[in-house]
Symmetry: C2
């Protein structure tokens, strides 16, 4: 049985106790969370989220790339969110590589240089500040009143704000 098949079996149990729930497409808390893809970060649990409350955008590093700007623009303009919460975390894989090293390894295997920046980082606090700065600098995000960044400790579950 593949992992995917096991997740499907888990979903059958989830659906059996789900019932019928009608919620609007607009998130009730009018908030978007941008977080790393890390497997130890359950965003709903870590932030105590209920069904239908916030958008959750995630990628390698929780980096604010053009695709995150796209998602935030859609989140705010189309679906009415206003606050942005950025979540990086301790022990991130993106701190264990360099852009040049990763791109060279990909090119050696694939025969093609990746067209995207790898977006590795050394200091997680610096990375959070950079993520905030990219949002503040973007002309495509209408609401910038609340853009705050945090580091989630994957060992303790504690969220620490980066100032």
């Amino acid at each position: 049985m593949s992992e995917t098949d096991e997740l499907l079996a888990n979903n059958r149990a989830h659906a059996a106790s789900h019932g019928r729930i009608e919620l609007p497409t607009q998130p009730a808390r009018r908030t978007a969370v941008v977080a790393c893809m890390d497997s130890r970060l359950d965003v709903f649990a870590a932030l105590g989220l209920g069904n239908g409350e916030v958008h959750v955008i995630r990628n390698a590093g929780g980096v604010v790339t053009d695709d995150v700007i796209r998602s935030l623009a859609i989140s705010q303009r189309l679906l009415g969110t206003r606050e942005i919460v950025l979540v990086h975390h301790t022990d991130c894989g993106m701190q264990k590589i360099t852009d040049e090293g990763f791109a060279a390894a990909v090119e050696a295997d694939a025969g093609v240089r990746p067209p995207w920046p790898v977006e590795s980082f050394v200091d997680v606090d610096v990375a959070v500040r950079r993520a905030i700065a990219r949002i503040l600098a973007s002309p495509f995000i209408p609401s910038k009143e609340s853009v705050r960044g945090f580091v989630y400790d994957v060992a303790t579950g504690v969220l620490r704000e980066v100032s």
Copy 2:
């Protein structure tokens, strides 16, 4: 009290019952999930995930953009994942806009045309097949043995596979 402050208060309750958990950076199920940012899709609950099991990549639509390819390349090459699960869903905001209409509205407000494709879609099954096709066509994803796509019903919690 802002929504962000409320989420921080929720996190304090989460951390208080978290204890100390040491897990590796590599996801135990060696699987990456790519899903839409929709607020009604709790990926951990919907797939019955435990802490440290899978990477979770999310954006507007669950679309396979260059940034998703970047995240999947890092997930597979650096952190050992092998299977890919794509999750779109019913009642998606991306079905309620057109690329041209959204880009024109952004340009009218921001004075600048967005440099990214909006990635709206009409038929969710077509969108899932397109997402699978983009992964299969990418030279940057080493493991393509299991790339499967699903539509999550936000009303019932049921995951349906797209063939």
